[in-house]
């Protein structure tokens, strides 16, 4: 490869990494799960363990003693729910859960509003009773057969197989009451993400779920995990609770200027005018691509503590060369600089200790010229603090131009789409995505013979390719993406200890043939070896078999297949391999002897030598998730 090309690829890669979004700086409260004393007294169906193995097919499970994992195992007789010692109102909650085969549990916000946990593996038509659903309410008065109502199935079923860790993130708002105790606002699930895919958004619930632990509605209640329906394992319970206190910004005044060209010009610039404003936007007379202003106002802080600010000036693109910025901004609180947007990107964070009460705020910003690909002039200032939920201050009302989603649908035949796809923060340009009728989807970098990712559910959204000019040309997987090794699937190694190569000299993609179901048989060549790659879904899409056939010119070659890579690789009692902290399984067929080894980059690898019979060999394994 040409040196210039390598340089460019590196630049693109670095750019992609720096644009990863910032997480909230406020730490979550963590339940360490060292002992059950962290909860209200409960039944003996609950225990704390170090690890749990659930068999994919519902066989015998196995616990490892230790701490950090909360385990519910149904007992004969008494099975109780688990209630937290703390009570919450508004909350942001995140946890991992694992379902044994066929099991049923649930997370009740305030002990009243349930997000359902269920073994919904590969369910095609999820209902209110599937994982990620908000379980229905119940009213006997509605008449026989009609008692259940207001259940909310997940927007998409992204459940993984039994025995795999899955994630759940919930942002919940408690109901609001007036001083007489009368409810004035319903409880609301602002968002629920399962396995990082949005499954509920802005759902108001009019009252407690069927079989809630309390029948009334209150400002506060404990978090409850259902224990009497089925086994479940939970870990990494983290939360932030929020009080009713809010940060507000008032009495804003905008001073505007004519000639600000740099962030340092504000000190000496002569104001051109002043006006009162009520939303954070440059409302003074100016051109759309040249303006500058200082917003001053009063910031009301509800309670003492450290507050975190994030400022985003939308007109500053993320890829601005440092010497040629088109704008910048600075936030001061009580005359102290808190956030500085330097103009290389439009976003920056900062924090400061504040006492309850009124503080002086000042925001300087300017724009020198515009980029058509960063057309918005939005100024977004968000704040959060301990007990104070992240809020964007004084946002003007606006909406983007409406653009309907364009997607490729899979019906009774596999679909393929060539295009660009993101992998590990990098845009891959020579990829194909394949959607199988069973709902299993995968993406391959054809130019390198690398299996990039799998996901289950809908196939790909193509709006970024097919709307307007298609600026990014990206395909967006419509489901819970598991990123795989992203390294060449096959390599010729001198020995089983040779490091897995990041690229293969002389590798060449040749093309593909379609099987009768429309899925591809992909051909590649590396010097001395021709390769055919196929995928087959098994058990109606629950498993994806990956097969690589090789034909060699010289039988002495030692060819290996990279089956998986991850932080951990464990061989399970049922013969499956659990990859990357039980994110997915690898199922090998027949008598194959894989090697688990450390990779050069600090991970573990599962590799398999390919046994040649004559001049040909084959390797097949299934990805199960």
């Amino acid at each position: 490869m040409n040196k210039k090309l390598i340089l460019i690829c590196c630049c693109l890669f670095i750019k992609a990494i720096t644009s990863v979004a910032q997480d909230s700086p406020i730490p979550f409260e963590v339940l360490p799960l060292q002992s059950l004393s962290e909860f209200q007294t409960t039944g003996n169906n609950w225990q704390i363990v170090g690890d749990i193995y659930y068999d994919l097919d519902g066989g015998k499970s196995k616990t490892t003693s230790g701490v950090g994992v909360l385990l519910n195992t149904l007992q004969k007789g008494d099975n109780e729910a688990l209630k937290t010692s703390f009570e919450h109102g508004d909350i942001e909650l995140s946890l991992d859960f694992m379902m044994p085969k066929g099991s049923n549990s649930g997370v009740y916000l305030q002990g009243r509003y349930e997000v359902q946990l269920f073994d919904s593996w590969a369910e095609k038509d999820p209902k209110y009773s599937d994982a990620g659903a908000i379980y229905q309410r119940w009213d006997a008065g509605r008449g026989a057969g009609r008692e259940g109502f207001e259940g909310h199935p997940p927007l998409v079923n992204v459940s993984r197989a039994p025995g795999l860790w899955q994630s759940l993130r919930i942002v919940f708002q408690a109901p609001r009451f007036d001083s007489n105790g009368k409810k004035v606002a319903n409880a609301k699930f602002v968002s629920v993400y399962q396995n990082d895919v949005l499954v509920q958004k802005n759902i108001e619930v009019t009252g407690p779920t069927q079989a809630a632990f309390f029948e009334d509605e209150q400002a506060l209640g404990p978090l409850v995990i259902q224990g009497d329906h089925g086994g479940v394992a939970i870990r990494n319970i983290k939360y932030k609770t929020y009080g009713s206190g809010k940060v507000t910004l008032k009495d804003m005044k905008l001073t505007y200027y004519d000639s600000i060209r740099s962030i340092n010009d504000f000190a000496k610039a002569k104001p051109k005018g002043e006006m009162p404003i009520d939303v954070l936007a440059h409302l003074a007379p100016a051109t759309r691509n040249e303006f500058s202003g200082t917003v001053e106002g009063s910031l009301e802080i509800p309670s003492d503590g450290e507050y975190f600010f994030h400022l985003n000036l939308a007109w500053v693109p993320d890829d601005t060369p440092p010497g040629n910025i088109n704008g910048a901004g600075k936030l001061f609180i009580d005359d102290k600089e808190v956030v500085y947007v330097d103009g290389v990107t439009g976003k920056a964070n900062g924090s400061t200790e504040l006492t309850a009460g009124t503080h002086k705020i000042k925001l300087n910003y300017f724009k020198k010229y515009g980029h058509w690909y960063a057309p918005s002039n939005d100024i977004t200032l968000t704040v959060e603090g301990n007990g104070v939920a992240k809020t964007a201050l004084n946002v003007p009302l606006r909406a983007d131009d409406p653009v309907g989603q364009i997607a490729v649908k899979v019906n009774d035949r596999a679909e393929m789409q060539r295009g660009f796809i993101m992998y590990d923060g990098e845009k891959r340009t020579h990829t194909v995505a394949v959607g199988e009728p069973g709902g299993a989807n995968y993406a391959i970098d054809l130019s390198k013979g690398e299996l990039l990712s799998v996901w289950r559910g809908d196939f790909v959204e193509t709006t970024p390719m097919w709307y307007g000019r298609g600026e990014t040309q990206l395909m967006l997987p419509m489901g819970n993406v598991i990123e795989l090794a992203g390294k060449p699937s096959l390599a010729v190694l001198d020995s089983k200890d040779e490091a897995w190569p990041s690229g293969i000299d002389g590798f060449s993609y040749e093309g593909y043939k379609l099987k009768t179901n429309g899925a591809p048989i992909i051909s590649y060549r590396i010097p001395g070896v021709s390769i055919q790659e196929t995928f087959d879904t098994k058990e109606s899409g629950k498993k994806l078999a990956h097969t690589l056939k090789v034909v060699v010119e010289n039988e002495d070659l030692e060819i290996y297949s990279l089956i998986a890579q991850g932080t951990t690789i464990e061989k399970l009692p049922n013969g499956l391999y659990a990859i990357d902290d039980k994110s997915y399984y690898i199922e090998l067929t027949g008598k194959q002897s894989p090697i688990i080894r450390d990779s050069a980059d600090g991970l573990q690898e599962l590799i398999l030598p390919i046994k040649l019979i004559g001049k040909s060999g084959v390797v097949t394994y299934s990805i199960v998730w």
Binding site: I8, R288, W372, P375, E415, T429, W466, Q473, K513
Partner: protein, 702 residues
């Protein structure tokens, strides 16, 4: 005119001249009445729209005719459709069958030996139907090239060469932050030759957006180029191995192994001189065979189709048709090769297609199928995509069939015999030479335009040819040749009375003796001078009178009226005391849109308007009287060569306010008084091809 010479009294002469002119006008009107309806393009070439099933998004990227008469069409959404029985009439419908899918924005398709070849963004691919079910089941990579991931890296082709190899042409990317094209990875901006078994030979460099490609009747390869950086106007270049065709960005890779191009980026001067002149001293830089004047014959040159129908499509056998995406029209080109270098003429041919033209192919019935898409750029034809068929009605249009270069001028050949009296009068022709800047900046105005004197005309015995003796012809220049006054023997005017000849070499042949023409002209000039002097005096008298009347009127007015602002006032009028009543920020959005699309102002208020062109093409901002946007736009188009020099602002009272023509990323500020009459005025970009779409509403309220 001869009888006029008898007039001695100049006063009487002027009067007689006036009478005569009026008389002629009346006579013309009578002629027309006898001739019935004036002829239109549609009388000769009928346009038929093919129905497309509702669930098929047929954004045509490439097209070929299969031996059975079906069309194979690849789409920007990555599908290949076989459209059988496309030569429909009446209520018949063609049959659509999906042949392949899942490709990455294929923008070219060819058929060879039972297989379909497509050029995807990253790959030249062969599609085969091995089981005979009418659907591709083998997608073989022939060759793949790197991509940076930039949206503007479009890939086109293939064209099969006689040796069985294929040529593909590759766009450069577009850098948002730099505001110009960039070649981020090899071989963006190049043509590549690819063997059937996947060997790649770099072929030529210097392309910007090589959307059209193909061979002429002689089998030489050409590509069509879009206006932009290093490309002053649309153009057609003859491409031979090792050529550098103008866009310097591609030279980033001329040092890679196998490159037949040795020029480096720094070898290319960015002086704004005409490209032909630069090519004289920069060896390896090839000037185009034909320029297409921007805004007049298109704004984004696309498909290239040689007329191999042997006359079944009309009188233009072996000429070439060239499509245009932005203006939804097709031009007609005739090449000639002189001293081994191509040049030739381009004429308007057919307008009014329903979307942006990308591809044209011949059907087996010698009708032309035209495949279109306008997504992302917009076009005069409003549809998002379309498939149309152009059929010759069998009637002979009266056209300039071709124009050839001669050592002392041009020879126009007509499709029908001309009225010799009219055809031999130089006054019925007009020739203007002009060119464009060769520069890294986006586009170019017309530069160095000068009239070319027509010394005389010799009409051939059969009335089919007119030989123009023309002065001031310049090599490398485009020559606009108008023949407005020429009529056929039946009195028909030309269907299109203009052609644009790019002169790279003078044609061979005998020169014509100029002396008889010069002698006759001397006599004529003496006469005309007398006429002109008299007319000028009359004019001066009238002007003086008008001036006096105006002065009287001014004096009579009780209060001095405020001076009216010029339409393009770029500094704040002093009378405003440094303050406008309102400031409007106007921008653009991709797809030919103003942002915002509606603005409200108070009648009579003082307005400061800042227009920022944040698009990747040229735009202006023009406020016009209600309901006159199209009329003004069409008038702008009629400015012809002067269009860009005049910022596409026609001289009409319908235009109330305008900015100049802005480069990408440029801004301009104007000041105006809002109309005093409330109503919904229109603001429009009058750039040809833009004004149909790019409009907004200026609401003037009390």
């Amino acid at each position: 005119m001869k009888n006029l010479m008898n007039f001695k009294n100049t006063k009487g002469f002027a009067f007689a001249l006036a009478c005569l002119v009026i008389g002629q006008v009346e006579l013309k009107a009578q002629d027309k009445a006898l001739m019935m309806v004036p002829e239109t393009e549609d009388d000769f070439y009928k346009m038929i729209s093919l129905p497309v099933p509702e669930d098929v998004i047929l954004e045509v990227g490439g097209m070929a005719t299969l031996p059975d008469g079906s069309l194979a069409i690849c789409t920007r959404r990555g599908e290949v459709w076989i459209v059988s029985s496309p030569s429909i009439s009446g209520s018949e419908k063609p049959v659509y069958k999906k042949f392949a899918s899942g490709l990455h924005e294929p923008l070219g398709l060819a058929y060879k030996d039972g297989d379909i070849y497509v050029t995807q963004r990253s790959e030249l691919t062969r599609l085969s139907d091995t089981d005979g079910d009418g659907q591709a089941d083998v997608y073989d990579k022939i060759y793949s090239w790197p991509l940076s991931g930039n949206y503007h890296e479009y890939s086109y082709g293939p064209t099969f060469l006689p040796n069985g190899n294929m040529l593909v042409t590759l766009n450069v990317g577009w850098s948002n932050s730099l505001g110009h094209g960039v070649s981020l990875v090899p071989w963006r901006g190049w043509a590549l030759e690819i063997t059937p078994d996947g060997e790649m030979i770099p072929f030529a460099a210097g392309m910007r957006s090589p959307a059209g490609y193909g061979m002429n009747a002689e089998g030489d390869f050409f590509y069509t180029e879009n206006q932009g950086d290093w490309v002053g106007s649309g153009r057609i270049s003859h491409v031979e191995k090792g050529d550098f065709l103008g866009n310097a960005e591609s030279l980033e890779w001329s040092d890679l192994s196998g490159s037949p191009v040795t020029l480096k980026k720094e070898d290319i001067p960015n002086t704004g001189e005409p490209m032909y002149d630069v090519a004289q001293r920069v060896s390896g830089l090839k000037a185009p065979a034909i320029w297409l004047p921007h805004g007049i014959l298109g704004i984004s040159t696309s498909g290239f189709l040689n007329d191999n129908t042997e006359g079944k499509f009309g009188p233009f056998a072996n000429q070439v048709f060239v499509g245009d995406q932005g203006q939804s029209n097709i031009a007609r080109v005739d090449f000639e090769k002189i001293n081994g270098v191509y040049q030739g003429v381009v004429f308007p041919f057919r307008e009014g297609f329903s979307s942006g033209i990308l591809r044209m192919v011949w059907g087996n019935d010698a009708s032309m199928f035209v495949g279109m898409t306008s997504r992302g750029w917009s076009s005069t034809g409003k549809e998002l995509f379309s498939l149309q068929r152009l059929v010759w009605t069998g009637r002979m249009p009266f056209e300039m069939k071709t124009i050839k270069s001669k050592p002392d001028g041009f020879e126009i050949e007509f499709t029908e015999p001309v009225d010799k009296e009219l055809a031999k009068d130089p006054a019925n022709y007009q020739v203007t030479g002009f060119t464009y800047k060769y520069q890294a900046q986006y586009g170019s105005p017309v530069i160095n335009n000068e009239p070319c004197d027509i010394i005389g005309v010799v009409v051939s015995e059969d009335g089919m040819k007119a030989r123009l003796l023309v002065d001031n012809l310049r090599l490398g220049y485009i020559h606009e040749i108008k023949a407005e006054g020429v009529k056929s023997t039946e009195g028909k005017p030309l269907l299109h009375n203009v052609g644009y000849y790019t002169l790279n070499n003078f044609g061979a042949g005998e020169k014509i003796d100029q002396s008889p023409f010069l002698a006759a002209r001397h006599e004529h000039e003496m006469l005309m001078k007398a006429v002109a002097d008299s007319a000028a005096k009359a004019q001066a008298d009238a002007e003086a009178k008008a001036k006096a009347a105006e002065a009287k009127k001014q004096a009579a007015a009780t209060t001095p009226t405020a001076p009216k602002l010029a339409k393009n006032t770029t500094t704040m009028p002093a009378a405003w005391d440094g303050k406008a009543d309102v400031t409007i920020n106007m921008g653009t959005k991709p797809g030919l849109k103003f942002d915002p699309a509606q603005v409200q102002v108070k009648a009579g208020s003082k307005v400061k308007l800042v227009f920022q062109n944040v698009d990747d093409m040229l735009h202006n901002f023009v406020i016009v009287m209600p309901g006159t946007a199209i009329e003004v736009g069409e008038a702008a188009m009629k400015l012809g060569l002067e269009g860009q020099q005049k910022d596409y602002i026609p001289n009409t009272s319908k235009v109330l306010v305008n900015t100049k023509l802005l480069q990408p990323s440029e801004s301009a500020t104007i000041y105006f008084i809002a109309p005093t009459e409330p109503g919904e005025y229109t603001y429009v970009c009058t750039v040809p091809g833009h004004f149909y779409t790019m409009q907004g509403t200026l609401k003037v309220v009390k």
